[in-house]
Symmetry: C2
Subunit: 423 residues, 2 copies
């Protein structure tokens, strides 16, 4: 069965995935005279860096989700399809999807990455990931349901399990969610639950390496850990999770931590699609690509962003799996489509490191620019401005800004809703 895509005389570029890379690419490709078909399993682009604020009831999903159809309102050559990709037939130039086959002239895979549970099925079934808006909402529901469970518990041990929250993974996501939860414990929860003694609530951050924010410089790591400890997060370094039964987190190092809420931000795995040649298999579910984001021996197939693995002297294990490399690859590849259209040679991708940053709590962030590191209030302001600037749409910027200001002044947003799906 063929999917119902309008036939065009233009060459068709099919883009799988509308994350940072796929979205940027689509916008660039549309500047040339191609037909663009974007397929995604959601009808909206997700702003991943702020998932943790949705999970901790600081923002509404709609503030960081942007419907594709709206983004591309004025593009006549753009077609969006809500579907899952099942397989690729590179020889026939066909993408097999749940709504039928889609023929392509050029294919770009920008499927990103998902949570890596490293094969531990028990953890996968019980831990809470945070790699989509739906997952962030599920986490939000769980956090607040557990507090209700805690207040209903007559048994001290049960209550402790409901109160404690363990975050696994000391990268930016883990640090940000642990810090925000600790602030919530200090400023918001005692007002919501006056009957509860929140000095008993533990927020634990587990990290396998000796440092949190391990990808950043030492000064940032030290400062971030200092901030976390100041907020009352218990930071365990050199610690590995062995097992989780839904009640106790068992550490390889021996200890058992009681908790019914285990947040998993410990690793990601590329969303590889079946049908690519075996020799393109890179570690971590990624796909080897050349310097033009092209897959070897596949005519007109490109891969970019988190799922791509482009090896260079500077990045022998591929680029960091973050927004910036994806956006920059999307832009470069988009410009290369213009060159393809004009029959010119392609330009190789060159990653420009713009720096990285993470926020731990109010007035507390770390920022690393290529030649300059700073921390504290100014870093926090920079973090706010950069993220606000990156959010699509004037109204969304305004609503997020309003939420942040409100939250900053009142310490008290009203998004602590447990909206369970309709039965």
């Amino acid at each position: 069965m063929d999917a119902n895509i309008p036939i065009s005389e233009k060459k068709r570029v099919v883009i799988v995935g509308g994350g940072f890379g796929g979205l940027k690419l689509a916008q660039e490709v549309l500047k040339s005279d191609f037909q663009v078909v974007l397929v995604d399993r959601n009808n909206y682009h997700q702003f991943q860096p702020l998932f943790y604020q949705v999970a901790t009831a600081g923002l509404e999903p709609s503030s960081i989700a942007f419907p594709f159809r709206k983004i591309f309102h004025d593009e006549k050559n753009f077609h969006f399809r809500l579907t899952d990709v099942k397989n690729i037939q590179t020889e026939n130039k066909i993408v097999e999807t749940t709504i039928g086959n889609i023929q392509y002239d050029y294919l770009v895979i920008a499927t990103g990455a998902d949570t890596n549970f490293f094969g531990n099925q028990r953890i996968k079934e019980r831990a809470l990931p945070m790699k989509s808006i739906a997952e962030a909402l599920a986490l939000r529901n769980t956090i607040f349901q557990r507090l209700e469970d805690a207040i209903n518990s007559v048994n001290e041990e049960e209550r402790q399990k409901c109160l404690n929250i363990v975050v696994v993974g000391g990268g930016a996501t883990g640090v940000e969610v642990a810090g925000t939860l600790a602030e919530m414990r200090s400023f918001i929860l005692p007002k919501d639950y006056p009957e509860m003694d929140f000095s008993k609530m533990k927020i634990v951050l587990l990290e396998g390496s000796p440092r949190v924010l391990n990808a950043m410089s030492e000064v940032s790591c030290v400062k971030a850990k200092e901030y976390l400890i100041k907020l009352g997060v218990e930071v365990y370094n050199n610690t590995h999770v062995l097992d989780y039964d839904g009640e106790y987190v068992e550490l390889k190092e021996g200890e058992k931590i009681p908790t019914k809420t285990l947040i998993w931000a410990a690793g990601i795995i590329g969303n590889r699609i079946s049908g690519l040649p075996e020799k393109s298999d890179a570690p971590g579910g990624r796909v080897f690509v050349d310097t033009f984001n092209q897959v070897a021996d596949c005519e007109n197939v490109f891969v970019l962003g988190d799922v791509a693995c482009m090896i260079s002297d500077e990045y022998p294990r591929g680029h960091p799996q973050m927004a910036q490399p994806a956006i920059q690859q999307g832009k470069n590849l988009g410009e290369n489509f213009k060159r393809i259209f004009n029959g010119k040679p392609l330009k190789p991708f060159k990653y420009k490191n713009l720096g990285s940053m993470a926020t731990v709590g109010r007035n507390k962030a770390v920022v690393e620019l290529p030649n300059y590191n700073f921390q504290g209030f100014f870093a926090w302001v920079v973090w706010l401005v950069v993220h606000l600037k990156s959010i699509l749409g004037i109204k969304n910027k305004f609503v997020v800004f309003l939420n942040w200001v409100w939250n900053y002044i009142t310490y008290n947003l009203s998004l602590r809703l447990i909206i369970k799906p309709r039965k």
Copy 2:
């Protein structure tokens, strides 16, 4: 098992349900020296009159949902419990809940009403109700998923089933949702789906009686129908749904309308709780109460709002099941608790009809005050002001106002997200 509620020397008032009536009552009772325990199956108060705007992607749930714990931050004698009530033991003064038994000195049942499918199981399984925020969100997801399905359909008949929307029930909810959908069809959807011919999309409103908004005066009914027709809604009066197989709505009058989206706003049934004496059973799932909202032969048990049936000469079938009677009963009963506290005689309830209103679309509403009816732009402004005024919290008022202004100017909100629950 006893629920874990702090023991107090004060008399305990247990309120089941935090809708308009229960919320108002709790606020009033707390002015006297009682312990108040509010139980609800959600951790938030829902502003029902705007469910239809959540369902049609005009508002976010958080704008019309207010966490109980936040509303009552400063009340030491207030305790909230998230639970379902299973049964009442009136002789032992116990409420049985999923978190254990709760002892009461006074019990107030304010459980409201749910959708009435009039015993038709096939319709219940397939039609979409709109009596909670979760249901409104499920409806929103369905509406936009159907449009994606329509665009994927190669078969003309299938596409028609995905495009058409049938609304059953010509009360305020049905009229408001049909009108909003028709506006969306005119102004928003053609931009989102340029490939689709929306002149083929039917929006049908089915109503059993000869008039829409049957509870209002003739001039309002006529005007509302005129507005609906102007917006392109097909209004069927004197029409009854016989059956629905998920693909075709079968009317008693013969016709079959193809649609995969059947919105059910045709009736409500009181959320009666088991354990009350049989002779208190009133029609429509309601509970007979006297003029003090008291249930006969049950010591200290009160029922108010949609689920209560208080018969008087003026209202031989009980008060209309709307926000106003519930709020007014909550207020009167709350004041009666002050009289109970002071050992004074109770004051009977007297309903003051403040009027009613419904909005059909932008600049189109009908308003009925006790001695004065008006329609059109001014009625629409009055509708906006009254609803904005009723929304709790400054920030929520502001966000709703911002959304409305934005929507009015741009005809284009960005809440058209299909956020499916995490699998």
